[in-house]
Each structure stands twice: as C-alpha cells, then as structure tokens.
C-alpha cells in the first residue's frame, strides 16, 4: 500500500492538511514534520535541478525546514503552505548560487544525470540545456515543467507579475529549443508532431 497523501492531485491542500498547518503554527513539531514530508520530495527535486548538486540540495532543504518552522506563524493562509515554502527554497537556492559564484564553483551535472528516470540522450541533453539557463529562466522551467505549477502559482512563489512569468517562460523555451537543436536532439518533422 502506498503512503497516504494529504495533498490532492490538483495541489489544493485538504482540510486535514490545513489543520496540521495550524497545529504546526502553534508549535507542534510532529505536525510540522508531517506537513513538510508531504512537500519534501518536490522541494528536493526542485533544489537538485536548480543547484545541480544533490548535497547542496540536501543542505538547502535542511535550512529551509528550520526556517519554515521558525517563520510558520507568519503564514496567513494554511492552504498556501507549499507555495510559501517553495518561495523560501528558491530564495535559499539563489543565495547558494550567489555564494558559489564568488567561489567559482559549478554544479555536478553527472551526479544529477544518475537520478534521471530515463537515461536517454534527450533527457541528458534536456538536463544539460536547463543547467545552461540563467537562474530566472531555470527556476520558471523547473517550477512549470518539473513540479507542474501554473503560471499564477509561479508568479505567487517568485513574487513577480504574471506577465513577467509568461515572458520568462517563452524566452526560456526558445533558448532550450535552440540549445537542443544545436545538440542535434530536437528537430521534429511535421509527421512527428502530435495532433491537436
């Protein structure tokens, strides 16, 4: 039997989840651990792709868990917990990348490629192309296509206008397409294109 999830498929938090958030806001550590475990895997995947390094992603997640517990009383709407904690994670990743830039350290794409579900040349090429994107574009691609957030939710997470998110997504897709075409991994003919 699989684990019982409190989050519904459309990512709207259930009543039980919101109650646990309220308990965690009052200081219940057990409740906090439970709600954080619901979103942990998603946060870890996001951090892995943005930081291109599993151990950095793990450290980031540890810091995010503590910061989320400290600041949880500031969350006004329990149903936005996942969006709120994702924002903390993105800010943490940004800080780590800024620090890394000072030390001229680059991520380890080989470590990340081991965790790809499909080790096809296209998957590896996609991961490499995503790693070559700048932080703003990489973030929107990861949130949109890896974690499945809508454009509105991404705008809320990154605290940006919706128009900015739309233009970033379009620009990021254009760059990715150009990169994959350059690698020879993408060039669909009319016959290969999917039906509407």
């Amino acid at each position: 039997m699989g684990k019982e999830y409190l989050l519904n498929k459309d990512e709207k938090h259930s009543e039980e989840f919101c109650q646990l958030v309220v308990l965690a806001q009052a200081g219940d550590k057990g409740a906090f651990i439970r709600i954080f475990e619901e979103v942990q895997e998603s946060l870890y995947r996001t951090a892995c792709v943005i930081l291109e390094n599993e151990s950095d992603a793990y450290d980031a997640l540890q810091d995010v868990a503590l910061k989320a517990f400290k600041n949880l009383p500031q969350l006004r709407e329990p149903r936005y917990f996942k969006t709120w904690v994702t924002r903390i994670l993105i800010n943490k990743c940004c800080a780590i990348l800024r620090e890394r830039k000072k030390l001229s350290f680059f991520g380890d794409m080989n470590m990340l490629q081991v965790n790809l579900r499909e080790n096809s040349p296209f998957s590896i090429g996609v991961m490499e192309a995503v790693s070559r994107l700048s932080f703003p574009y990489r973030t929107v691609i990861v949130l949109r296509y890896l974690e499945g957030y809508s454009q509105k939710e991404i705008a809320r997470i990154l605290n940006c206008p919706l128009g900015t998110i739309k233009s970033r997504l379009n620009a990021a897709l254009k760059k990715l397409k150009a990169d994959l075409e350059g690698q020879g991994l993408w060039s669909p003919s009319e016959e290969e294109a999917y039906e509407l």
Binding site: G27, K29, F32, I33, Q40, E41, Y44, R45, C48, V49, E54, S55, A57, Y58, L61, Q62, A65, L66, F69, K70, P73, N115, L116, R117, E118, S120, F122, S123, G125, V126, M127, V130, I141, V142, R144, Y145, L146, S150, Q151, K152, K166, L169, N170, L173, L176, K177, W186, P188, E190, E192, A193, Y194, E195, L196
Partner: protein, 147 residues
C-alpha cells in the same frame, strides 16, 4: 490578432492558462492560420518531450533526512514562557522610574536635611575635610545649606 502576437500565447494555451476573450481571439486566429497551427503542434510536441526529459527518480538522501534541528529548536517561545521575564523587566523599569521621580528625590533630600538638623553636623564637617577646630555656628549653617 496576428501570428507574432499569437505565438506569445502558445505556452499559455497549451498549459490551459489562456481563457476568456483572449482565448476566443487566439482560437479564431488558429482557425484561419495554417502556419500557426503547425507551429502550435511543434510547440506542444516539444513541451511534452521536455516534461518527459525532466523527470527525476526519488532522491538518494531522501529517506535519511534529519529532523534534529527542528526537534531541538527552542527559539519560538510561547507567551507563558516569556511572561515572567517580561514582568521582571517591567518591574525593573518602574523601580528605576520611581527612584528618579521628583517625589522620591524630594524624599531623599528631606531625609538628608533631617539628619543634619538632628546633629550629624560633625560627620558632614569631617567628610568635608574640616580641621579639628570647627567654624562658628553661622559658618556651619552656611556649609549645611551649601551641602
């Protein structure tokens, strides 16, 4: 709506985020534009492949995530724990204010003047460094007033 504008909405339309009058105008343009129809098919195919390429397995560190820092966190104290120290602080501030208030200063001055009248002039004179021969009564009163 022209082709240049329509292509900006491809991503929103594919992900289902395009609705209302804008969606109607977009679909109207698609009906009449073969180029945009082909371009939309390619874009949809690309996004589908991108999603498939970005799928990761469950991370290795995941099962051993440590909750120690959260479990040992003491920082966020409730009102019941903060109240005694807060009350002590308030009492201390009130005590200082009371000491420095004009009423208490008058009281202190009053006590001092009462002691001199009761004959502790010798102490005052010794503290002031007077010689063994004390001055006349007039001089003493002058010095007491000064102090």
């Amino acid at each position: 709506m022209n082709c240049k504008k329509a292509r900006k909405f491809f991503e929103s339309y594919i992900s289902g985020d395009l609705n209302g009058p804008l969606a109607d105008r977009f679909e109207d343009h698609l009906r009449h534009c073969v180029h945009c129809q082909r371009a939309l098919k390619k874009e949809r195919a690309f996004i589908l492949n991108l999603k498939q390429g970005l799928v990761l397995k469950s991370p290795k560190f995941y099962p051993s995530f440590s909750w120690d820092r959260v479990q040992t966190f003491q920082g966020r104290k409730g009102f019941k724990k903060v109240a005694p120290s807060f009350a002590l602080l308030v009492a201390l501030c009130l005590g200082i204010l009371l000491l420095l208030s004009p009423l208490s200063l008058d009281l202190i001055r009053g006590i001092n003047s009462g002691n001199i009248e009761n004959g502790s002039s010798e102490i005052v004179m010794k503290d002031a460094g007077f010689p063994n021969n004390p001055p006349s009564e007039e001089g003493l009163n002058y010095r007491i007033a000064f102090y």
